[in-house]
């Protein structure tokens, strides 16, 4: 699936913790592509350490 179709599927079917639903609908989800240890990498290649288990 393409990043855009994943964002659309998420918008259509999923809710996420600690969000405003309408804001999430307009912004869309950040798609994560991979992980290495505590670091998550998004589809644009940006990595950040995960310090919240619920995402």
């Amino acid at each position: 699936m393409s990043i855009q179709s994943l964002i659309e599927a998420d918008r259509k079917h999923l809710i996420h913790p600690v969000i405003n639903y309408r804001a999430h609908e307009s912004r869309g989800v950040t798609v994560l592509e991979s992980a290495d240890g505590a670091f998550l990498r998004d589809a644009k290649g940006r990595a950040r350490p995960r310090a919240l288990s619920l995402i």
């Binding site: 809710i15 913790p17 600690v18 969000i19 405003n20 639903y21 309408r22 609908e25 288990s53 619920l54």
Partner: protein, 154 residues
């Protein structure tokens, strides 16, 4: 609606909350800026999600018509027929009232024992399918006399 367990056939922890669009819209319209302050604590677990996807791929339905997914009429008492045929074929599983057959083989099952399970299950379903009332229920759906279109999937 809260759901769990069967999402991964019980092999990995997974739970979910399902809501209708009416409920979703009600929450979404509740406050234009505030976040809904619930947390899932642990979510987006790739192993459980992968098992969940595989479970969905493996689930099959017992339907009277495979194209329309039309269910068998309750008056047919299909679960009773399946349970009776399974007993005769020396196979133990759960034939639920809503035409779902449940299997929870022991983790020690060998490949040979799975072969035996599927052999007896196939015979069980074939026996049920051969019953005149069940055949009639299929014919009534597709209107093709003597043809078993759709039918029972194992």
């Amino acid at each position: 609606m809260t759901v769990a367990k069967g999402l991964t056939s019980g092999y990995a922890p997974m739970g979910a909350v399902l809501m209708s669009d009416a409920v979703y819209q009600g929450i979404a319209d509740g406050d234009p800026v505030a976040s809904v302050g619930h947390g899932h604590t642990y979510s987006a677990r790739p192993v459980s999600a992968a098992i969940g996807l595989e479970v969905v791929r493996l689930y099959h339905e017992l339907v009277a018509d495979k194209d329309s997914k039309q269910a068998f009429d309750a008056s047919l008492k299909l679960p009773d027929r399946i349970a009776a045929a399974a007993y005769k074929n020396r196979l133990v599983f759960r034939a639920f009232g809503d035409n779902i057959s449940g299997f929870a083989p022991a983790l020690s099952y060998t490949a040979a024992e799975f072969d035996l399970l599927f052999e007896r299950l196939e015979r069980t379903l074939d026996n049920v399918l051969a019953e005149p009332e069940v055949r009639a229920a299929l014919r009534a759906k597709d209107g093709v006399k003597g043809s078993i279109k759709g039918g029972v999937a194992a």
